[in-house]
């Protein structure tokens, strides 16, 4: 059982590498083998639910030396925070593979192989507890995604990819520097060279150095989320990438940034995180409004979905930087929710584009009555995205705002709430623009007859709708597992703040 986490990482990576060397002509073979592997990984990942998360510590820990000379260990484990992110990954990838069935038509083998390697990398990111190991998986995640964005982009392939590359490379190089500095400083203080997150926790950094390290860590993560104003790679990458890649980008890779902030910045630099929470809250608020407002102005459906992602991801930060149990637990919950809902939205964008050959609101015309089941499920997802109370996204949003409202970290929290809730109103505007623009007839012109949803598509949509409704009805089933770990995190942050306050 201990090795289950490693299975989750290396099974997809090895299968991906294996597929590169496969020599079969039919594209369908690669499509279905990709799907089969990702579904298999999903079933293996279910075993993680059997762990004991009550104590808030790490379970399924695997620990052995990797490069002893440099103090680098292979240390992986799962706690309440990473559990649902790993599960989200294993849920989203089969959906991405289902969405590629009719969309990706060229170089299918490479696409499937890279996507599988990407899955392994992302799971590795969520479970690594050693900084160097984390960095390795961070790169294992990034390199396939450069190619997945660039080679299969709709147009401006090079421009789209290079923008992503430059942004993320800047972030991850500074991140690497910071990791090394941390290791060195720890070595100087204790005499042991280690990159083990738990041992590094107690390292004391110089006053200015710790701000720099915090900034280097935060930069890499904030680009990935993306946090306003570091978002300008995102519209290109989201709008121009192929649908399966966008599903992965928004559904999971954006969460690696959020997760990184919570796991590394909050653990290693608790008092600074607390100190700069005002800045992050203001930027998050700006992103929430800016994204929502940009979404209202879009004609391209993919653009609406992309900017709405910017808005919704910034929402998660509101809870994270509230530094209380409500905020942190709901941040984790909302990461899961957003992954599910945004995957659903982009899945539908692909599905409609495939049927109509167009995704501009001004030119698509079709009637929902042609395909009641297709439009019905679509509307469930749209409603979740616009934050309908009773569905999963609203649960997260409500708890995030509740966490922020009751925070002691900043004094102007209510102001942030008042401005952010405007985005909920905006969300209902752009989401209805999108749904009505696609599914209802306009005054001029005739409607397109579209075929009803197919079995394979349903098998992606039904799980999404299940989670949307299930979490809306019973969020405790997730938060009860998350709580212990986030409580532990919050307690340690507040303990650290007290210590640093006493020093002053």
């Amino acid at each position: 059982m201990e090795s289950i986490v490693s299975w989750l990482i290396f099974l997809p990576i090895l299968c991906g590498i294996g597929l590169f060397y496969a020599n079969i002509k039919e594209d369908d073979f690669y499509r279905s083998s990709g799907l089969a592997v990702s579904v298999g990984v999903f079933f293996i990942s279910l075993a993680l639910l059997g762990g004991d998360y009550e104590a808030g510590g790490f379970v399924f820990v695997q620990h052995f030396q990797w490069i002893p000379q440099l103090g680098v260990n292979y240390l992986v484990g799962v706690d309440g925070i990473s559990l649902y992110l790993v599960l989200l990954t294993t849920i989203i990838f089969p959906i991405a593979f289902l969405s590629m069935q009719n969309i990706v038509k060229e170089r299918v083998k490479e696409f499937v192989a890279l996507l599988l390697i990407l899955e392994g990398g992302i799971i590795g990111v969520f479970v690594s507890l050693d900084l160097v190991l984390f960095y390795v998986f961070w790169e294992v995640m990034l390199i396939p995604s450069y190619f997945l964005i660039g080679l299969w982009a709709e147009k401006d392939k090079f421009y789209t990819a290079i923008k992503f590359v430059v942004y993320t490379l800047v972030g991850s190089l500074l991140f690497l520097v910071a990791i090394i500095i941390i290791g060195v400083v720890h070595f100087k203080q204790t005499g042991t060279l280690t990159f083990n997150l738990i041992e590094l926790q107690n390292t004391v950094f110089g006053d200015r150095l710790q701000y720099m390290l915090f900034a280097f860590f935060a930069l890499a993560f904030c680009i990935k989320i993306p946090l306003f104003p570091l978002h300008s790679w995102m519209p290109h990458a989201y709008i121009k990438s192929s649908i399966p890649m966008v599903i992965v980008l928004t559904g999971i890779m954006s969460k690696t940034g959020l997760y990184g902030l919570m796991r590394f910045n909050f653990t290693l630099f608790p008092s600074i995180s607390h100190e700069v929470s005002g800045l992050f809250l203001v930027l998050a608020m700006a992103g929430i409004i800016y994204g929502a407002w940009c979404a209202i102005g879009q004609d391209d459906v993919k653009g609406i979905a992309a900017y709405s992602s910017l808005s919704h991801l910034s929402f998660v930060l509101l809870g994270m930087f509230a530094f209380n149990s409500i905020g942190e637990s709901s941040a984790v919950l909302q990461m899961f929710n957003h992954g599910i809902v945004s995957a659903g939205i982009f899945f539908y964008v692909g599905l409609i584009e495939e049927r109509v050959g167009d995704r501009k609101l001004s030119s698509v015309k079709m009637l929902s009555s042609n395909a009641p089941i297709l439009s019905g499920f679509f509307f469930v997802i749209v409603l979740a995205a616009l934050g309908l109370p009773g569905l999963n996204n609203f649960v997260g949003e409500f708890l995030l705002l509740l966490g922020l409202w009751t925070t002691e970290a900043v004094s102007f929290a209510p102001m942030v709430v008042y401005i952010s809730v405007v985005a909920i109103v905006f969300a209902s505007i752009y989401m209805l623009f999108m749904y009505q623009g696609l599914m209802y007839e306009k005054p001029e012109g005739t409607a397109t007859e579209i075929p009803e949803i197919k079995g394979k598509e349903l098998s992606a949509i039904i799980p999404i709708c299940f989670f949307i409704i299930y979490i809306g009805l019973y969020p405790a089933s997730l938060t009860n597992t998350i709580n212990a770990s986030t409580d532990k995190l919050v307690t340690s942050i507040h303990k650290e703040i007290k210590v640093s306050e006493n020093k002053e």
């Binding site: 009641p372 409603l383 007839e441």
Partner: protein
């Protein structure tokens, strides 16, 4: 026994699921049967619970189902509150709802999306039941939003009609504004009280907010935004007239009898906290009477038979807000009930007229239908008389009492009373304008009018009976409610009573003079006051102003940010920085090609940077 109340939720939601998943494959008969029976079951369950409550001690029961969420100090159970107030609301919702479902079986005959209609009607009944059964503010908001959703579905039922789609969107967005207000209101309550359940909030609010009454006033005002949006009160009222784009049974059920009264329910339910902030209560009265008067004036000039009734709904809701704001909660709920009966009756009779005229809604193209549709005529007449507050009809008992209260209560006075009674006069005028133009005189239309069949007429007759006798149990009703809300005995004043009887009669007489006897003079009058007439016809230009002040700017800024600012300015700046770096990059890397070049460059510089910093670091101290 109390578990039985769950059927009011299970039955309609199952009906919704079955009909929605069938995807229009059911026959009309089957869909109509499933849709109506599910509401019938909900009504039966409510009725049994009512008997149980009456025969027992009237004590409120809370049914806790499961722990919904528990994070930090926020702990919430899914629970259902059964008390006299929620049972009264359930009786109205499911009773009137059942009658309207039966009516719809025939009314919607021949529609392409017949089962979609019933599935959404069932969803509405479910949502409304969630709203009134909730035992805390969170699930109140959930029900609040779900009724908004079903209202959206049903306003936009005719998806091929563009105006209906736009009206649905308008209603939805305006109601989301209300939802957001309530959401923040709930946050404030939690901050001070540490819980969002009614029981905790109402029992602890007095002490928790003792030192910070302004915060409570603010929380209540935010809750009121939700109430105003849902009940179409000024300034969030403009969606209701447009909502008439939906089928007539929808207007009767959602936009007259039940959903729009949710705002009144909210105030009555939360009267404990509202009473702690008297200023807010004064605002409720002010907004109520303002909306009531304003809507009545607009009702005078509209030509669409349904829109006239819609404005009268707004106006009557204003009366309910006045009663609630003055502290007469039982009276507000009593008017809510009688209004549900006679307004549903009016809408359904109007629907019968529209049905008989194959979809014609313009009263200028009606007239003389008295003989052609006798049953519909009598029902419409009963509804109109009840609405005007004609003696012995149900509206008389509730509306007349509100007008008296507006004078006699502490916060009331001449001014409030004058507007209340003047609005009552206007109500009679426009209601009977509707009656006279539709049923008197010569037939002016082109369609061949015919009386509807019994499936439509039987519900009308049931509602007509309720509209007549619905006001007779006033004291028992107040006593029943007194187990849940504070009830003040209505004041009596003979002079006010006499005026209250005479004024509606005067209104009916005026309408008779204007629209039956002296139609020429009415025309002349209209021409003379053309600007005023146009202002009323355009609803005081609210739509125009909102469009200019809110809708257009939001869209324009959205267009600017999304299509000009982001790609042309933000992106360009980033690209410039990139080109700047690239310039140096070319100097360094000499001849390399295309994609690989930049990528390789980055990796190379990065590697140099990393390695050099690694070496440096061993030589620096913590700086």
């Amino acid at each position: 026994m109390k578990e039985l109340i769950l059927f009011t939720l299970i039955a309609p939601i199952s009906g919704f699921m079955i009909l929605a998943l069938s995807g229009n494959s059911f026959s009309e008969k089957k869909a109509g049967l499933i849709g109506s029976i599910s509401v019938g079951i909900a009504f039966l369950a409510t009725f049994i619970c009512l008997i149980d409550l009456v025969s027992g001690s009237h004590v409120a029961k809370t049914l806790t189902l499961y722990n919904w969420v528990s994070v930090g100090n926020f702990n919430l159970n899914v629970s259902i509150l059964v008390d006299t107030l929620s049972i009264v609301m359930l009786m109205i919702i499911n009773g009137v709802g059942f009658v309207i479902h039966c009516y719809s079986v025939e009314y919607m005959h021949g529609e392409k999306a017949y089962s979609r209609f019933f599935s959404h009607m069932n969803l509405f009944i479910f949502s409304m039941n969630v709203l009134v059964l909730s035992a805390d503010f969170f699930f109140l908001i959930v029900g609040w939003a779900l009724v908004g959703l079903s209202s959206y579905f049903l306003i936009g039922f005719y998806t091929e009609k563009h105006s209906a789609v736009l009206a649905a969107r308008k209603a939805f967005v305006m109601n989301v504004i209300g939802d957001v207000g309530m959401l923040v209101g709930a946050l404030i309550l939690f901050q001070y009280i540490g819980s969002v359940t009614y029981a905790d909030v109402f029992s602890k609010a007095g002490t928790a907010f003792a030192n910070d009454n302004a915060a409570l006033a603010w929380a209540c005002s935010l809750l009121l935004i939700g109430a105003f949006a849902k009940s179409a009160q000024f300034p969030l009222h403009t969606w209701l007239p447009d909502a008439m784009e939906g089928p007539t049974p929808v207007s009767a059920l959602i936009h007259a009898a039940t959903m729009v009264t949710a705002g009144v329910y909210l105030i009555v339910r939360c009267h404990v906290i509202f009473e702690l902030v008297p200023n807010v209560m004064e605002w409720i009265v002010f907004i109520g009477i303002l909306t009531s008067f304003m809507a009545a004036t607009i009702g005078l000039v509209k030509y669409d038979i349904k829109r006239v009734i819609a404005y009268s709904t707004m106006s009557q809701l204003g009366y309910m807000f006045v009663a609630a704001g003055l502290g007469y909660y039982a009276l507000a709920i009593f008017h809510l009930m009688t209004h549900a009966f006679f307004k549903a009756l009016l809408f359904l009779s109007a629907g019968s007229v529209i049905h008989g005229l194959n979809g014609e809604q313009d009263i200028r193209k009606m007239g003389g239908l008295k003989e052609k549709m006798p049953v519909t005529f009598y029902c419409f007449m009963i509804g109109s008389l009840a609405l005007c507050g004609f003696p012995l009809f149900s509206g008389f008992y509730s509306k007349e009492a509100i007008i008296t209260v507006s004078f006699m209560s502490e916060q009331g006075g001449y001014c409030l009373w004058f507007f209340a009674i003047f609005t009552a006069f206007l109500t009679s005028v426009y209601t009977f304008r509707n009656v006279f133009l539709t049923f008197w005189g010569e037939y002016r239309g082109s369609e061949k009018p015919h009386e509807s069949n019994y499936i439509i007429l039987v519900p009308l007759i049931i509602l007509a009976l309720l509209a007549i006798i619905g006001g007779y149990w006033k004291s028992g009703f107040s006593e029943f409610l007194s187990y849940t809300v504070k009830v003040i005995e209505d004041p009596h004043n003979t002079i006010l009573l006499i005026i209250g009887v005479i004024v509606p009669l005067a209104g009916i007489y005026t309408a008779y003079q204007m629209f039956v006897v002296n139609t020429k003079q009415t025309e002349a009058l209209r021409e003379r006051f053309r600007p005023l007439f146009d202002t009323l016809q355009e609803n005081y230009y609210f739509d125009l102003i909102y469009d200019m002040v809110f809708v257009k700017p939001v869209k324009m800024v959205g267009y600017f940010l999304g299509n000009i600012f982001e790609p042309k300015i933000v992106d360009r700046l980033v690209d410039l920085a990139g080109e700047f770096a690239d310039f140096f990059g070319q100097e360094v890397t000499m001849k390399q090609d295309g994609k690989i070049r930049s990528y390789g460059l980055m990796v190379f510089t990065g590697a140099v940077f990393v390695v050099s910093s690694f070496f440096l670091l061993f030589h620096i101290n913590n700086f």
